[in-house]
């Protein structure tokens, strides 16, 4: 048998990985073969050197660093709800501010009751138009102006005419977009 065939078994023997019968066979060969004796002693020496180097203690700081990182990570994950409440509070404040901005006095619509219509106007119509149409329509011209001054829209003017009972109530909502006009028609009983 060639010595290279013994290599694997000698390597296993160096780490005491062979069953007794095979180990005895390897030892018998080692007594007869000088080359394999060199291999076996080299294997044992290198394994001993590796083990010595491996057993050298690591600095305690390396372990404590890992521990600290793990604990910090776990604490971050387990942080109770009240500690995260500031985020929810901040969100609530932001929503409140948005609502306040949306409902600020300069933009608040004024509802007017007339006999035929309620008008939400983006701009106050001139006096001659109000007199002519009885307060039921706001001139489209002002919508163009309104578009130009979209950043600051003045409060709509209240238009009031004589209200007679029994006629349907018509609410016309003029939006900032001239293409969108909303009508709301409601039946009214006498005495309403």
């Amino acid at each position: 048998m060639n010595c290279s065939d013994w290599e694997e078994r000698i390597a296993l023997h160096a780490g005491r990985d062979l069953p007794p019968a095979e180990a005895a066979e390897v030892e018998r060969h080692l007594r007869e073969c000088a080359g394999c004796q060199v291999l076996a002693s080299g294997l044992k020496q290198s394994l001993a050197l590796l083990k010595e180097a491996h057993d050298e203690p690591l600095a305690a700081a390396h372990f404590s660093a890992v521990r600290a990182r793990v604990v910090a990570e776990l604490e971050k994950e387990r942080r109770p709800l009240w500690q995260r409440a500031w985020a929810y509070g901040l969100a609530a404040v932001a929503v409140g501010l948005l609502v306040m901005l949306a409902l600020r006095p300069g933009r608040a619509p004024v509802v007017t009751r007339t006999n035929r219509s309620l008008t939400f106007a983006a701009l106050s119509p001139p006096a001659h138009e109000q007199a002519g149409n009885g307060g039921e329509v706001v001139a489209p011209l002002h919508r163009r102006v309104a578009r130009r001054q979209a950043s600051r829209v003045p409060a709509p003017q209240v238009v009031r005419t004589n209200v007679s009972n029994g006629e349907p109530l018509i609410v016309k909502l003029l939006t900032d977009d001239p293409n969108v006009v909303i009508y709301w028609i409601a039946d009214r009983k006498k005495g309403d």
Partner: protein
């Protein structure tokens, strides 16, 4: 007023009980830097850690930190990477605590997860750490000669492990450095004992060849 006093006394009792519980945990786990308990942690710290006690979990970490960090260091070769791997292993342990029993094979589970995490890190790491990093010698201490010898030995160990394939390295580290049996190594690596034997024998021969050349060149 008596009600307040009563409440205070209850709180004090609770505080004392908690303190005693912590001391009992320390006593159960044993010496902080002692050798790993191969049979797994005793019930109490495990149960306390399962209940969310971070102090108890820290005790568990102390018990097994050497096993995890040193194995990761041998498999990855770079301390920073090994620390990252250890962190991941312990986080996985925490997330799997509910499935653990006092009788569970803790070291086996930890070796398995450590090998898997290191394997994943190896694959993600495109560029291997340069050899110069291994070659760096630590600063000289009180005994310069001893320091040089230790550093030389450590460098030889690191470089010879780098010569091996990933599977050979894992088999050698677990069998020869960590001292697991061939059967345990096979279980951790999810392979057969015959494969482990083949891998360790090849690894041993490669390491021996490398070290022979290495020390011949140095002298």
């Amino acid at each position: 007023m008596p009600k307040i006093t009563y409440t205070f006394s209850l709180l004090r009792q609770f505080y004392l009980m908690e303190r005693m519980k912590t001391l009992a945990l320390v006593a159960t786990v044993g010496p902080i830097y002692g050798p790993e308990d191969r049979c797994g942690p005793r019930g109490r710290p495990l149960e306390a850690a399962k209940a969310g006690d971070l102090a108890a979990f820290e005790l568990l970490m102390r018990q097994y930190e050497r096993l995890v960090l040193v194995t990761a260091l041998r498999l990855l070769g770079v301390l920073e990477d090994a620390q990252d791997a250890s962190q991941e292993v312990f986080l996985r342990l925490y997330r799997n605590l509910s499935r653990m029993e006092a009788s569970s094979n803790f070291p086996g589970w930890l070796y398995q997860v450590t090998v898997n995490v290191c394997h994943d890190m190896h694959r993600k790491r495109c560029v291997p750490a340069p050899m110069e990093e291994v070659a760096e010698l630590p600063a000289l201490t009180a005994d310069p000669q001893r320091t040089v010898v230790e550093a030389e030995r450590r460098r030889a160990l690191e470089m010879s492990l780098r010569m091996l394939s990933e599977k050979e390295r894992a088999a050698l580290v677990l069998r020869d450095l960590e001292g697991l049996s061939t059967e345990e190594v096979a279980r951790v690596l999810g392979t057969t004992e015959a494969t482990v034997r083949s891998q360790t024998s090849k690894a041993r021969v490669k390491v021996r060849d490398f070290l022979e050349r290495y020390f011949r060149r140095r002298t």
